[in-house]
C-alpha cells in the first residue's frame, strides 16, 4: 500500500517504496511504502512486533531491507535482485540524510556530553573543533542542558541523556529525524521533557518520523499517523480521524487497548 503526502506540491523529503524485510521465514516488514514531505511529522503506531522499528531502521539501513527503495533528499538506494548491493560509502551518505534517536539513547559513555555532540560533527562533516563545540553548545542550550556540557552521560538522568542524543543527531543538520520509541525507556514524567523538545522541533518545521506508544503526542503533534500490524500498514491518515474512527478492526482493538490503560 502506498501512502502519499497530503500536499502533493511539497517535494518528498523521504520516500520508502515497497520496503520488505525478512528474517529467514519471518516477514518483519511486508511491502511498506511511505512518502514524507518536508516539515511533515509522521507517527508510526501499532502493537509490538508490528515491524514499526524494523521499518524505521530500514530508512537509514541499520537494517538492510530485503527489497525496496529508500530515498532521502537526493540520495537513493534500491535493494533487489536487479541491483548490486550498495557500497559502505553509499550507505553512509544516505545515513547522513537522517538523524536517529534510539530507545536506549546510545550516548557514547567514554565522552562528555559536549564531545558526544561534537565528535560526529568533526568526523562526519569535517567541522573544526571550535566550530563543532559552538554548534553543540547552542543545541545543548536549545534542549535545556547547557549546564551538563562537561558531564559524562553516566551523570545524566535518562531524560537528559535522551535530550543530549537529540542534540547529537541535530548537530549533523539532517533534513529528516527518525525517532525509535524515544520515550519507551523513560518514566512518564521524564518522558514529558523529551516530548516537549520533540514538539518544539516539530513546530520549527523539522521533518520527523516517530515510532511511538505516546498516543497524545501522536494525536497532537503528528500530521499523519501510520498504523502497522504484522509487518504491514493497516491504515494511514489524519491521527484525529484514525483515533476517533479507525477503519480497520485491528486498529480499533489496538487503540482501545492503549487508550483504556
Amino acid at each position: 500500500m502506498t501512502v502519499h503526502s497530503e500536499n502533493g506540491l511539497t517535494r518528498p523529503m523521504l520516500t520508502a517504496q515497497n520496503v520488505t524485510k525478512t528474517y529467514q521465514q519471518h516477514v518483519a516488514v511486508n511491502d511498506v511504502s511511505l512518502e514524507v514531505s518536508q516539515g511533515e511529522v509522521v507517527s508510526i503506531i501499532g502493537p509490538s512486533g508490528a515491524g514499526k522499528s524494523t521499518f524505521l531502521r530500514c530508512m537509514n539501513f541499520l537494517e538492510v531491507p530485503t527489497s525496496g527503495t529508500v530515498t532521502i533528499g537526493e540520495r537513493s538506494i534500491t535493494i533487489g535482485p536487479d541491483h548490486k548491493s550498495p557500497s559502505r560509502k553509499e550507505v553512509a551518505a544516505l545515513r547522513r540524510g537522517a538523524g536517529m534517536v534510539f530507545q536506549s539513547f546510545n550516548l557514547f559513555p567514554h565522552l562528555t556530553v559536549l564531545r558526544n555532540v561534537s565528535l560526529p560533527q568533526e568526523r562526519v562533516l569535517g567541522r573544526s573543533r571550535s566550530e563543532a563545540d559552538e554548534r553543540s553548545r547552542a543545541l545543548l542550550e536549545r534542549v535545556g542542558l547547557s549546564q551538563k556540557a562537561d558531564a559524562y552521560p553516566s551523570k545524566c538522568s535518562g531524560g537528559q541523556q535522551q535530550r543530549v542524543a537529540i542534540a547529537r543527531a541535530l548537530a549533523l543538520d539532517p533534513p529528516v529525524m527518525l525517532f525509535d520509541e524515544p520515550t519507551s525507556a523513560l518514566d512518564p514524567e521524564v518522558g514529558a521533557e523529551v516530548l516537549a523538545v520533540m514538539k518544539e522541533l516539530a513546530r520549527d518545521g523539522m521533518t520527523m518520523i516517530v515510532v511511538t506508544h505516546e498516543m497524545a503526542f501522536a494525536r497532537d503533534v503528528s500530521d499523519r499517523m501510520l498504523v502497522m500490524a504484522d509487518g504491514g500498514v493497516l491504515e494511514c491518515g489524519d491521527p484525529r480521524v484514525i483515533m476517533k474512527q479507525p477503519t480497520h478492526p485491528r486498529t480499533e482493538r489496538f487503540l482501545s487497548a492503549v487508550l483504556d490503560r
Binding site: R96, M100, N106, P109, P120, A169
Partner: protein
C-alpha cells in the same frame, strides 16, 4: 631470635640481579605479546580462511600447551632442527607466544562487550567503519581490556620463575645458586618469595584501583 627470623633479608640484595632479568623477560614478552594478541584478533576475525586457520592454531596451542612445555620445546627441542636460541631468547619466544594467545581472548572479549547500540549510533551518524572503531569502539574496549591485560602481566611475572628450568638467570636461578653455596634454602627461598610478593601485591592493588577508574563512565 629476631636475627634468625629476619636472616632471609640478607639474601634479598643477592637476588636483585635476578629480579632485573625477570622484569625484562616479563616486559619484553608482553610488549611483543599484546600486539601479537591484537593482530591475532584481526586475523581470526578476518576474511582470509588460511590466515584465520593459522591464527586459530597459534591461539589454541598457545593457550592449550603449558608454558613449561613450550619453554622446553623451544630451548631443548629446536637445537635438534639446527636452531639454537639462547636461554633468554627461548624464554621470550615461549612467553610471547603464550601471552599473545591469552591476550587475544581478552581483547576479543572486550571488543564484544561494547554494546551493539554504540556501533549503531556511530553508523547512524554516518561514520565510516574506521572512524567507528577508532573513536567509539576501541576506546571503550580498551578501558575494559586494560585491567585484565595488567593482571596477565602480574601472572607473567610470576611465570617468569619457570624460565629457571632453562637456565635463564632470573630470581629462582639466583636463589637456587645461593642455596647451593650456603645450604640455607629456607631463607633464600623466603627472600625470593618476598621479592615476587613485593612486586605482585602492589601491582594487583594498582590494577584494582585502575579498573575502578577506567570503568567509572562505562
Amino acid at each position: 631470635m629476631i636475627d634468625d627470623l629476619l636472616g632471609w633479608t640478607e639474601y634479598v640484595p643477592e637476588l636483585a640481579g635476578g629480579l632485573g632479568v625477570a622484569l625484562k623477560l616479563t616486559a619484553i614478552s608482553l610488549l611483543l605479546g599484546y600486539p601479537l594478541g591484537l593482530l591475532l584478533v584481526l586475523i581470526t576475525d578476518g576474511s582470509s580462511k588460511l590466515l584465520r586457520g593459522l591464527g586459530l592454531v597459534i591461539v589454541e596451542f598457545g593457550r592449550g600447551i603449558p608454558l613449561l612445555v613450550l619453554l622446553l620445546i623451544v630451548y631443548q627441542g629446536l637445537p635438534q632442527v639446527e636452531l639454537t636460541p639462547t636461554a633468554m631468547v627461548s624464554a621470550v619466544v615461549a612467553f610471547t607466544w603464550s601471552a599473545g594467545a591469552y591476550s587475544t581472548e581478552i581483547i576479543r572479549a572486550s571488543l564484544a562487550a561494547v554494546p551493539r547500540g554504540q556501533s549503531e549510533a556511530a553508523d547512524a551518524a554516518g561514520m565510516s567503519d574506521r572512524e567507528r572503531f577508532r573513536f567509539i569502539i576501541f576506546p571503550q574496549a580498551a578501558r575494559l581490556a586494560i585491567p585484565p591485560l595488567m593482571n596477565l602481566a602480574v601472572q607473567w611475572f610470576q611465570f617468569s620463575s619457570l624460565a629457571y628450568v632453562i637456565t635463564v638467570p632470573e630470581i629462582m636461578q639466583s636463589a637456587y645458586f645461593q642455596g647451593t653455596v650456603t645450604f640455607d634454602y629456607l631463607s633464600v627461598f623466603i627472600a625470593a618469595a618476598f621479592i615476587y610478593a613485593a612486586v605482585t601485591i602492589p601491582t594487583s592493588a594498582l590494577v584494582t584501583r585502575l579498573e575502578a577508574r577506567l570503568g567509572r563512565h562505562l
